[in-house]
């Protein structure tokens, strides 16, 4: 927090104050700027201190309203000012803070707390194309997040979004480093096309969620979320899902400031999974086989189970706690950020560097000859330099690079975690000790079983290592030209941007030697082991090259800006031309390799009358290469009005109570060109593979080589009429400020999304089409509300308090959705939410096989007693797709909220933030968590060809249907050694309430007293401790509810962090 204060203050503080600071006693007035010809009246001396929520504020301008008398606060935030009379009103203002007007009412000591602009009634908000708009002039709907709120102890910025900004629906499903991006949506989702996420622009450059996630909060100057039609119309066909705008810091004129932040954090799973003990595992594994097939061959003999229970020889009766063996309980990570900023008459600069060290959570074994714990170093360097070429011309050069160097296990931390969750714990030891028979071997004698294809996570971890490098380079040149010479208020800006990203990796490894127990004597514990793969295993290293990814982007933006006020009439205008070009080196096919391009002209015109009435018009006219020529360009207009009631004459009397009352309304049409699938580049063209091996045929008598010719596949049929989605958005907002302490902003929106691209359900299969026929025929509607409230209170001179809350509610539903001719009305999606799940109604478990045989037939594979019984909703005697009904809440939460407080006493500060979501359902993934099953998703290539056995959750072991205990409401149905398809159907059986409330962050800080800091020449010296994901309240207990269905996935992390923040003047 202090860091933010440092930037807010020092970047904007008035130079004169600083220049004199050293020579002036701290309680003395630093500056006294009185305009000479002010009439001398009966003067009153008023003194006081100005603070913000963290500490005192130097450099605040204190002005007497209606006069030109003004003064700045000193380094300790103190001021002393003569005022004309006791009815005078003092205006306190500082860039980055909300101005406050305080009537002195005869008091001579005034304590003021200024609020940072981003959390309430701003001074300025960053809007589309980097425009700055005064918050009090805003017509559109824009949320800005205070940069300090983005500083959570996580190296992923997106995890800070949930509950912090009204209008954002966000949640995090995985704690996997590098894969822990939160999912976030601006005002939910009102499309069923592929792109539902907002457009992300960092310094005007379109970047990905991951790029946003890697951004250092210390480098951010503003973070805005554009929500409604008026604010996003200028982005035309790309703005329908909302826009996230981030700008990085620039230098300010002044002496070099050096700030650094150091953090060391400890990270652990928010909740540990509880597994059944090894003996239970073996017993239930056997039960799982025999209960399904009494003739089935079991994996474990009675002797083995008994021997293990008795804790006999660990080679013959192995028990592996893979998790304990491979994964540490916690890991330590370090982050450091250093930046320097300043500037002189000609140039200003902001240079920052940061270094993150992510250490793996893997245990390193001494047996191994290389250290293959994860070591991920991430460096960022950013340089923003502003040069005044002439008095009216400014040039800004922004260069930044982000670099990752990784060395660690081949499969990475995540895959290692997954393999731990899927390895059999009792079939073989991780490795066998080298015995007399194998005294000559140079390798680790890894354990295995059967064909040697069982997953041994220890072997996979220690067999080798991977190196990778990733880099992202951005270069940006911006020219700003003041054209006042041509006409006053006119300026011009052009910006050229390019970025390159690259990635490569290399694996070095040996093929592990696997051994298995060939025989043993239960009495003497003598045993023999034999090798399983002598022909394929190696003692020496092999090598494979991984993927290599390179992309290149170019962006040009030119802009004319006009801004002028004639007496009470304020005008502004904006005209932007932009073009964007993006290519990728490893696109995969011709159509994807062609450049991605965008081209557009956008504009804005605003008119304000007397700070009371505001009118705004925006448009975007842009085109995309994805559509046919006749549908290439689209026009997206939006209008908005606002009325500042509190600025009306008649409102004067109410002002002390209601300091702000404002109404806003906007309406407009925005597009979404990202329709279909990402790989559907040119929907107006057919996509044909003329050399498709999957359509080959082979002939020949086999005496020589066979004759094979590849065939032809049509993967898309041409449709020149395809075009973008259109979103018709309405927004109504109320802003209310009470007592200068409480601010409420409430917005209500509706949206109708038309022209949604979807597959035609009316084309029967007998047409023989090899890909779906699609058209812009879908429609969806959405509506919701965003509310934010903040409150601040200074309790005494030394103590302050502020609190804040956000609430977002977003719903959506299908309006037009082409679907088959259902006989059952409940199957139609029309009128249902887009994220509504359809599934079967699970009644209970079948009591026995006889009951299963006499119930409506369930068509998903074998089932019997102890398997889930579904309701035959349409009573046709069978359980089919037609019996699926809408069940539960949507999978995308409808409500996301957050609230918290900050308080300070003297040099101490404390803050806490709670975050929650509601109206969400999730389903326990019955496949991914099915005990003993060999479960693998397509993406998990590292597990290909392995025999996997899912771990057994203790909860499942404790509560499952078995022939001895026929609990028809048990948590888990009858066991099975494979995924049972009958039970794996989406049904109410595994449906759970996804709502939760968590204590997301807590922070406690201590700032060294100013007097002490002076000796150190620092302006900020703060030590703090904070924690992330400390407490979670939810009905669901098996694992962290925010992870959703797959409890065996990488757990979300709880982080404890210690930090130090120092700024040198």
């Amino acid at each position: 927090m202090i860091v933010f204060v440092f930037f807010s203050v020092t970047n904007y503080c008035i130079p004169i104050a600083k220049a004199n600071a050293k020579n002036i006693p701290t309680n003395f007035l630093t500056t006294y700027q009185q305009v000479p010809n002010t009439k001398a009246l009966k003067k009153l001396e008023v003194r006081g201190t100005v603070r913000d929520t963290v500490g005192v504020l130097p450099g605040v301008t204190v002005r007497v309203k209606g006069s030109s008398m003004a003064i700045s606060t000193d380094l300790n935030g103190k001021f002393l000012l003569d005022v004309p009379d006791e009815n005078a009103v003092l205006v306190f203002s500082l860039v980055g803070y909300v101005s406050q007007e305080i009537p002195i009412k005869g008091k001579d000591v005034i304590e003021v707390i200024l609020k940072e602009s981003s959390s309430g009634l701003d001074e300025v908000v960053v809007t589309a194309f980097g425009g700055l708009q005064k918050k009090t002039d805003m017509v559109g709907s824009v949320t800005s997040i205070s940069v300090k709120d983005l500083k959570i102890p996580s190296s992923n910025l997106t995890n800070a979004l949930a509950g912090r900004a009204s209008g954002v629906i966000a949640y995090q499903r995985s704690g996997e480093p590098g894969q822990d991006n939160a999912d976030f949506f601006v005002r939910g989702v009102t499309t069923f096309g592929y792109k539902t996420s907002p457009l992300i622009l960092i310094d005007g450059m379109e970047l990905t969620t991951t790029d946003l996630a890697r951004l250092q909060p210390d480098d951010i100057s503003s973070f805005s979320i554009l929500k409604d039609a008026t604010s996003t119309a200028v982005y035309g066909a790309r703005g329908a899902n909302g826009v996230i705008l981030v700008t990085t810091k620039q230098g300010k004129v002044g002496k070099a400031k050096l700030a650094f932040r150091l953090e060391n954090s400890l990270s652990q799973a928010t909740q540990d999974l509880e597994f059944a003990d090894p003996v239970t595992y073996m017993n239930l594994f056997n039960e799982a086989i025999l209960t399904r097939n009494p003739l089935g061959a079991t994996l474990y003999s009675d002797d083995k189970i008994a021997g293990t229970a008795a804790g006999k020889n660990s080679i013959i009766y192995p028990v592996n706690d893979w998790k304990k063996m491979i994964i540490k309980d916690y890991t330590m990570n370090q982050r450091a950020n250093l930046n320097v900023s300043g500037g002189g008459g000609v140039a200003k600069y902001f240079i920052s560097g940061s270094f993150n060290q992510d250490n793996g959570m893997l245990n390193v074994d001494k047996r191994n000859n290389f250290n293959n714990n994860i070591d991920l170093k991430s460096y960022t360097l950013r340089s923003n330099v502003t040069i005044d070429l002439t008095k009216s011309t400014e040039m800004i050069v922004r260069l930044s690079g982000n670099f990752d160097d990784y060395t660690g296990p081949i499969d990475g931390g995540t895959a290692t975690y997954r393999s731990v969750m899927r390895a059999n714990p009792t079939l073989f030891p991780a490795y066998y000790p080298i015995d007399a028979q194998h005294a000559f071997v140079q390798h680790i004698m890894y354990g295995n079983f059967g064909d040697g294809n069982y997953l041994n996570p220890y072997a996979d971890l220690t067999k080798g290592y991977k190196d990778y490098s990733r880099s992202l380079m951005l270069a940006q040149l911006e020219l700003k030209q003041d054209l006042s010479a041509l006409t006053k208020g006119l300026s011009f800006r052009t910006m050229v941007n390019t970025n390159r990203s690259s990635y490569f990796d290399v694996n070095r490894f040996y093929n592990p030697y696997y051994y298995t127990l060939a025989g043993y004597d239960p009495l003497t514990s003598a045993y023999q082991i034999v090798n399983l793969n002598e022909n394929t295993a190696t003692e020496y290293l092999g090598y494979t090259e991984g993927s290599k990814l390179i992309t290149s982007t170019f962006y040009l933006e030119s802009m004319l800006n006009y801004n002028r006020t004639f007496k009470k009439h304020g005008f502004s205008g904006l005209l932007v031309y932009m073009m964007r070009h993006n290519v990728s080196a490893n696109a995969g096919n011709l159509q994807l390799s062609l450049p991605f391009r965008n081209l557009g002209i956008s504009g804005r015109a605003t008119y304000a009358y007397d700070n009371r009435y505001f009118l705004e018009y925006n448009f975007g006219y842009n085109g995309s290469e994805r559509f046919s020529e006749k549908n290439r360009f689209g026009f997206f207009p939006a209008v908005g009005v606002a009325w500042s009631i509190s600025n009306e004459k008649f409102f004067e009397d109410l002002k002390p109570i209601v300091n702000n009352l404002r109404l806003r309304a906007t309406y407009g049409i925005i597009g979404n060109e990202a329709i279909g699938r990402p790989e559907d580049r040119f929907l107006y063209l057919s996509n044909v593979s003329l050399n498709d091996p999957s359509k080959s045929a082979t002939f020949g008598n086999g005496l020589g080589a066979m004759y094979t010719v590849n065939g032809v596949t049509v993967s898309r049929y041409a449709n020149p009429d395809i075009t973008w989605e259109k979103a018709y958005k309405k927004n109504i907002a109320l802003e209310l400020g009470l007592f200068n302490k409480l601010n409420i902003q409430a917005e209500y929106y509706t949206e109708t999304r038309k022209n949604i691209f979807m597959n035609r359900a009316s084309v029967p299969v007998t047409m023989g089409l090899s890909s779906a026929v699609s058209a812009n025929i879908g429609e969806a509607t959405g509506s919701g509300a965003d509310i934010s409230i903040d409150y601040q209170q200074s309790l005494s001179g030394n103590m302050w308090f502020s609190a804040r809350g956000n609430f977002t509610y977003a719903t959506n539903k299908y309006k037009v959705f082409e679907e088959p001719q259902y006989r059952e009305a409940y199957r139609s999606r029309v009128g249902q939410g887009i994220y509504q799940t359809y599934g079967y109604i699970a009644e209970r478990l079948f009591i026995d096989d006889a009951e299963a045989a006499n119930s409506p037939r369930q068509n998903f594979g074998e089932y019997g007693g102890g398997d889930i019984k579904y309701t035959d909703v349409n009573r046709d005697g069978q359980i089919t797709e037609a019996d699926k009904v809408p069940i539960g809440n949507p999978t995308l939460p409808q409500i996301v909220y957050g609230f918290g407080f900050s308080m300070g006493f003297k040099s101490f500060d404390l803050s806490a933030f709670f975050q929650g979501l509601a109206n969400e359902s999730f389903w326990i993934d019955p496949s991914a968590t099915s005990p003993f099953a060999s479960y693998r998703t397509d993406g998990e290539s590292s597990l290909a060809g392995k025999v996997l056995n899912n771990q057994l959750l203790k909860a499942y072991a404790d509560s499952h249907w078995s022939e001895d205990s026929r609990d028809i409401y048990a948590l888990w149905p009858r066991l099975s050694s494979q995924v049972n398809q009958n039970n794996a159907q989406t049904s109410t059986w595994f449906m759970r309430d996804g709502s939760f409330l968590r204590l997301k962050t807590v922070e406690f800080g201590y700032t060294l007293p100013k007097s002490f800091q002076k000796k150190l020449s620092t302006s900020t010296f703060r030590i703090y401790a904070n924690a992330l994901n400390l407490v979670n309240i939810s009905k669901f207990k098996l694992w962290d509810v925010e992870m959703g269905g797959n409890g065996l996935g990488y757990p979300l992390q709880r982080v404890f962090n210690l930090g130090l923040n120092i700024t040198f003047n």
Binding site: R597, E625, L690, T698, M767, G768
Partner: protein
């Protein structure tokens, strides 16, 4: 510069910057977004020249169902011929009664209709190809018409009456137009027949370059398919099947003709004869093992076994009319699944699985050595078939000498020993070719090398499919299994002979020609003629004299000769015999026993059920929801 006055300079700069802005905005916007080069592949390229068009021809072929691939051929594991481990999945689930209409197992509705669309695209466009020889063009057209006929036939066999796709509907056809209805059974077979008639004349008698063309469609193939299609159309399932009377289109059209017609059998017989004649004309004959060089002087017993084994597993042997060249990899894998550990020196391997397990009823289906069913042979101890008996020296080429095994395994016809592996049974070849020496044999009791008990590798019944394993395959050390590949026979001459005998018997009753063709097949199998065998050994010596008796005999002959060749599945259906034959418990020996007396007790492994609905595949519910004009098959 110094001379410039400041205001002037500012204006200059302003104007310049402004000009750049305007200019950049006007850079031909249209061109910027035209990123697609002219030569992006479209379907038009497929017919620009012969070599491209050939790719499209092969595309049409690529939809050929994968006969011999247990993951693609429902007739292998979906019936009652071969049993598997319960978790095998795939088509085996059909056998286990898990067929359903939500996600039908082995649904080909999507795939084959795509194939038909591609065939039609080919036929619509082939005349555009400039550089193709006219004769070749006619041949290609004929091949594609054949494929169209075959894909329709395959769908009819599975689903019964289907919507015929004679020409493609345009992609933007109206909703009313695309919602097609099912054609009647008679229309369906008539269209298949029409296409086959059209294509025959333009097809070559044999392929000119076997090295690159074997497997391509020839006249014998087209005629043989026609024979098979007409026999199918004449069979009880499609000919006057009154069970299917309620199956009607929404407009009331009855899909199954309710009147039985002998004429259908007459034309089927004619088609069979025509096909046989053309096959003979190109030199095809039943296969006999007769290598140009033979290292050992084999006994007649082993030679007969090789006649039988190789008629199936010898690539492009003399009776192969149509073999599937697309599934060689699959049949190689199949050999691995069927093979077992016959070599006692190499038991550690895991590459052979021995998991394809014929149930007891298949073992009992084979004739006695006298060429009549075990239930009808008056010299055969049928009731004592589960008792034990010790093999004697004279039987050493069939059963390991002195081995005690079930009586059922003694005195059986050569096809029993050629097609099945069993406990104590000799397994000729596989590295031991001299039949005067000791040969490999199986030991299949509990935890024996071929018995139950090795995790994930075992027979489920006590029997193995020897037929699938080429006699020259050899198990090596570790993961080595060298196998001789073969192409899966779709139609071979013996099949055609038996079809002819069947059609002729149905159309005009038993006669010389009926006996002759069935006896040809029996002779190769080392058996005497039908009439003599029944006269000498059967309890009912005159059975071959009646049409009904002969029908029984032909059916069983067919089931034996074509066992494991994906024929029983379809034959039992078209005869409407599946209800009787499939609806019996799957019996196995008591696999968990080590003593012969305990082992040779039949136990029930599974109670198979075959209902009326199972004669046809269910149409996927989703396909009916997309087109309510399609009616679902009865019972689903």
């Amino acid at each position: 510069m110094v001379n410039f006055n400041k205001i002037q300079m500012k204006k200059y700069l302003t104007v310049t910057v402004f000009a750049i802005f305007i200019a950049s905005a006007l850079i031909s916007c249209k061109k910027y977004l035209d990123v697609v080069p002219d030569n992006v592949a479209t379907i038009d390229y497929a017919f620009n020249m012969r070599s491209q068009a050939q790719k499209f021809l092969f595309t049409c072929y690529s939809y050929l169902p994968g006969d011999g691939d247990i993951t693609d051929d429902p007739a292998m594991l979906g019936g009652d011929e071969i049993w598997e481990m319960p978790n095998k999945g795939g088509y085996f689930n059909i056998a286990r009664g898990l067929q359903n209409k939500v996600n039908p197992l082995g649904d080909r509705w999507v795939d084959l209709y795509r194939g038909l669309r591609d065939c039609n695209i080919f036929l619509e466009n082939i005349n555009r190809v400039p550089d193709i020889d006219p004769a070749e063009k006619l041949r290609w057209i004929a091949e594609v018409k054949f494929l169209k006929a075959y894909y329709h036939f395959y769908l009819i066999r599975m689903y019964g009456p289907i919507p015929l796709i004679k020409v493609n509907l345009p992609i933007d056809a109206g909703v009313g137009e695309v919602k097609v209805v099912r054609n009647t059974v008679d229309e369906c077979f008539a269209y298949v027949n029409e296409l086959l008639n059209e294509c025959v004349k333009d097809l070559p008698l044999t392929v000119t370059d076997p090295a690159s063309e074997s497997g391509r469609i020839t006249q014998p193939i087209a005629l043989a398919l026609k024979a098979k299609a007409l026999v199918t159309a004449a069979s009880p399932l499609f000919n006057g099947n009154t069970d299917q009377a309620p199956l009607r289109n929404p407009d009331g059209t009855q899909l199954f003709n309710q009147t039985f017609s002998t004429l259908k059998w007459d034309s089927a017989a004619v088609a069979c004869k025509k096909a046989i004649d053309v096959c003979h004309q190109v030199g095809m004959k039943l296969y006999y093992y007769n290598p140009s060089f033979s290292q050992f002087n084999l006994t007649a017993t082993i030679k007969t076994q090789l006649n039988i084994r190789n008629s199936f597993a010898e690539k492009w042997n003399s009776e192969m009319i149509w073999a599937n060249t697309q599934t060689i990899a699959a049949t190689t894998n199949l050999q691995r699944l069927a093979a077992t550990w016959w070599d006692p020196a190499l038991l550690d391997g895991t590459i052979v699985r021995g998991e394809l397990s014929p149930p007891l009823k298949i073992a009992e289906m084979f004739y006695t050595k006298n060429g009549v069913p075990i239930t009808e042979d008056k010299t055969y101890n049928y009731t004592g078939r589960y008792t034990l008996r010790k093999a004697v020296d004279s039987e050493k080429l069939l059963i390991k000498k002195d081995y005690i095994t079930a009586t059922l395994h003694f005195d059986r016809e050569p096809r029993f020993y050629a097609d099945l592996g069993f406990d104590g049974g000799i397994w000729y070849g596989q590295g031991k070719y001299d039949d005067s020496q000791d040969l490999y044999y199986l030991q299949a009791k509990f935890k024996e090398r071929n018995g139950y008990g090795k995790l994930g590798y075992n027979t489920e019944t006590g029997y193995y499919v020897k037929k699938y394993v080429h006699f020259q395959n050899v198990i090596g050390t570790a993961q080595n299994y060298s196998s001789t590949s073969y192409t899966w026979p779709i139609i071979r001459l013996a099949d055609l002979y038996l079809l002819y005998a069947e059609a002729l018997n149905e159309s005009s009753g038993p006669g010389t020609e009926v006996y002759d063709y069935i006896d040809l097949v029996r002779l190769r199998a080392g058996l005497g003629g039908v009439q003599a065998s029944w006269a000498n050994y059967a309890t009912n010596p005159v059975k071959p004299n009646s049409k009904e008796g002969m029908r029984d005999i032909i059916h069983q002959e067919r089931l034996i000769e074509l066992v494991f060749e994906s024929q029983r599945f379809w034959d039992l259906r078209r005869w409407k015999e599946a209800g009787d034959k499939v609806n019996t418990p799957v019996l196995t020996w008591d696999l968990m026993q080590t003593a012969a007396a305990d082992y040779y007790r039949p136990v029930v492994l599974f109670n198979q059920t075959f209902g009326f609905k199972d004669y046809f595949w269910p149409i996927r519910d989703g396909n009916i929801e997309a087109n309510r004009n399609l009616v679902q098959n009865l019972g689903w």
